[in-house]
């Protein structure tokens, strides 16, 4: 069966002057199925957000998706779509929610008009019909008194409500895929819990696929079916969320777990990863995590491929698995 979204060897390049090029996303592959949540997890600069933008062909200039990359939506090659076809995809078949709803909303346009605009961008309906659809979308994302909220402006809403409005806009065209890039990072923890519950409910009710981009392993734990851990532009570990949490295979993933303070269990000293993430201009030619890795050895001077840790569980480390 064809996957809803298939990404193979995605590479994004940026010129950095002096004729040199960097690849902040460097050979990323994954598939996303209907009704499932896949998480892209990693720290700042790992390429997770740029991966999300590349799927919508929104890589900021002068960056570009390299031609050898494959992005297939329902089997169709997204990179061969023309601009008009891409407009159908963006906000149509693929919706997107970003971290900061304040900068994504138009401050001088009423909420109802912004959602209505999204409805009318993908459906031929009257302004009145679009507004009534906006009202039902608002109530679907859990906003009380939606008819009054329609007439309000973004600054009149709390952060959590603005994020709900962004989700309503993303849902307007009934997308098959929702890309949620740090959707709760700017929100308080009690509001974050509300938004994550909402995304989960929408996924199960609409059979939508969700690509959840986050730095927070805690957000992944309760929500994602599968996950890719990213480091320095590459996927370093890929498996079901259960497999990664039960037996993290890559030293970087283990380092992340050792760095996260917990709310239950014994209070122990954290075991952080040494150093910090290098910029793309300073990535080593071998394993990119090697300079910070407590387990590095001679072979790490060569870039490891993704190796099999267990069925359905891959890790980009020479110590993973028993292949030579």
């Amino acid at each position: 069966m064809t996957s809803l979204l298939e990404v193979r060897d995605l590479r994004v390049s940026f010129p950095v002057g002096g004729g040199r090029t960097i690849h902040p996303v460097d050979g990323v592959s994954f598939t996303l199925e209907r009704g499932r949540t896949l998480a892209l997890v990693g720290e700042s600069g790992c390429g997770k957000s740029l991966t999300g933008l590349a799927l919508l062909r929104l890589v900021p200039s002068p960056g570009r998706v390299e031609a050898s990359s494959v992005i297939r939506l329902d089997g169709k090659d997204l990179l061969s779509f023309n601009e008009e076809e891409m407009r159908e995809v963006r906000g149509g078949r693929i919706g997107m929610v970003f971290q900061d709803p304040m900068t994504s909303l138009n401050p001088v346009l009423a909420i109802g008009d912004q959602i209505g605009e999204a409805v009318r961008a993908h459906r031929k309906v009257s302004r009145g019909e679009a507004l009534s659809r906006a009202e039902s979308l608002l109530s679907e994302v859990g906003i009380a008194d939606p008819s009054r909220r329609l007439r309000e402006y973004p600054h009149q809403l709390s952060g959590g409500m603005r994020q709900r409005v962004m989700i309503a806009i993303a849902l307007a065209a009934e997308p098959e895929i929702l890309i949620a890039d740090e959707p709760t990072t700017a929100l308080d923890v009690t509001v974050q819990a509300q938004i994550l519950e909402l995304l989960d409910r929408l996924r199960s009710q609409h059979g939508m696929a969700v690509l959840l981009i986050t730095h927070d392993l805690g957000v992944v734990a309760g929500r994602a079916d599968d996950m890719c851990v990213m480091y320095a532009g590459q996927v370093v570990e890929h498996a079901s969320t259960r497999q990664v949490f039960e037996a993290p295979a890559h030293p970087y993933t283990r380092g992340l777990f050792g760095s996260v303070p917990t709310i239950t269990g014994p209070r122990e000293r954290l075991t952080p990863i040494a150093g910090s993430v290098p910029p793309p201009t300073a990535w080593p030619t071998g394993c990119r995590f090697a300079p910070r890795c407590p387990e590095r050895f001679d072979r790490c001077d060569t870039m490891p491929p993704l190796r099999r840790a267990a069925p359905g569980h891959e890790s980009r480390c020479w110590l993973t698995g028993d292949e030579p």
């Binding site: 959590g160 509001v191 519950e197 392993l217 805690g218 957000v219 992340l256 996260v260 239950t264």
Partner: protein
């Protein structure tokens, strides 16, 4: 002045109130924003008190008021028995040597045009500590103490990563040998791997120098990592306080229960039913009457009393809780 006995807390805050008043365009007085509305706590020498709560709960204002970046509306804050809020200019300068602050944003709190070494030495200059060569060698020692290379002294802040800048901020605070450091969200802008390094550094420095920390943060798991005691704030007031293990292990106030339950734990071990609070925190300009939490409360016994009578902190099972019905766990 008599030397403080070991049982006197190093810092004691009593009934701290900070209201902001604003006037509308027409000059009418708007209702005051009750950012901090009667907060009391103590901090012992070498201890860490975690002050936690969501945005707008007043935790940052508490810290900024104690260090006199803002003047309080009323209340007292005593450092070893001396009222901080009535200090004259000379005494205030001496106070600022004893109490330092570390900020959330290591980008915004360092002057981009000042070399790192000069930024660290600035406090020593103000307080006339040592000669210039002595200060220079002290800067080198401090940089190494926070895990940086001594040669970084001649570089500028933009050459460093977020985690390195936060280390520079810590070195700068340590330079005047303070006894107490107010840490305001010191790791919340850092990546997790770097956050862990900085938390360990703060713990090590505390042990080596017997520092006291007022650790202000929104992340309960981060606070649990460093705090001996915790005070949970909601709309300008402390709703629960006590030993960290008690408050987080068996929370009594419904807000603490919800906050604790909302923490996304990096674990797939199933946890007890998650409590998802409805709505947003109300505005501190118009806090609800009675218990400020009653509009979002899910306690089975909540009633008319909660809507009319404000609960005060009272001792219960080894902690202090401000809830009329804290005997029954929600």
């Amino acid at each position: 002045m008599t030397a403080p006995s070991s049982s006197t807390p190093q810092l004691e805050v009593r009934d701290l109130v900070k209201h902001y008043t604003a006037r509308s365009l027409l000059g009418r007085a708007a209702p005051p924003v009750r950012a901090v509305d009667g907060v009391s706590f103590t901090l012992g020498r070498g201890e860490t008190l975690g002050l936690v709560g969501e945005s707008g709960c007043g935790k940052t204002t508490v810290g900024r008021t104690i260090i006199r970046l803002q003047e309080p509306t009323s209340g007292r804050a005593l450092l070893d028995g001396t009222d901080i809020f009535t200090l004259g200019p000379d005494a205030l300068r001496a106070f600022r040597r004893r109490v330092q602050m570390i900020f959330q944003d290591p980008y915004g709190s360092l002057n981009p045009r000042m070399m790192v070494g000069d930024a660290i030495a600035e406090g020593m200059e103000i307080h006339r500590i040592g000669t210039r060569p002595q200060r220079r060698s002290r800067v080198a020692t401090l940089l190494e103490e926070v895990g940086l290379d001594a040669s970084y002294a001649t570089r500028y802040p933009h050459e460093f990563s977020g985690g390195q800048r936060q280390r520079i901020g810590i070195a700068r605070a340590l330079a005047v040998e303070p006894e107490l450091i107010i840490c305001d969200e010191p790791v919340s802008s850092l990546d997790v791997s770097v956050q862990a390094q900085v938390l360990n550094l703060l713990t090590d420095l505390q042990r080596a120098r017997r520092l006291s920390y007022l650790f202000i943060a929104h992340d309960l798991a981060v606070v649990r990592q460093v705090a001996d005691r915790i005070a949970v704030m909601y709309l300008g007031r402390i709703v629960e306080t006590g030993a960290a293990d008690k408050v987080l292990g068996a929370p009594r106030h419904p807000y603490t229960v919800a906050l604790r339950s909302a923490v996304p734990e990096a674990s797939i071990v199933p946890t007890a039913g998650r409590i998802v609070l409805g709505g947003d925190p109300p505005s501190p300009a118009a806090p609800p009457p009675g218990c400020a939490f009653h509009t979002r409360c899910f306690h089975p016994r909540r009633d008319e009393r909660c809507r009319t009578e404000r609960p005060e902190l009272r001792p219960l099972a080894g902690v202090q809780v401000a809830c009329h019905y804290a005997e029954t766990t929600p």
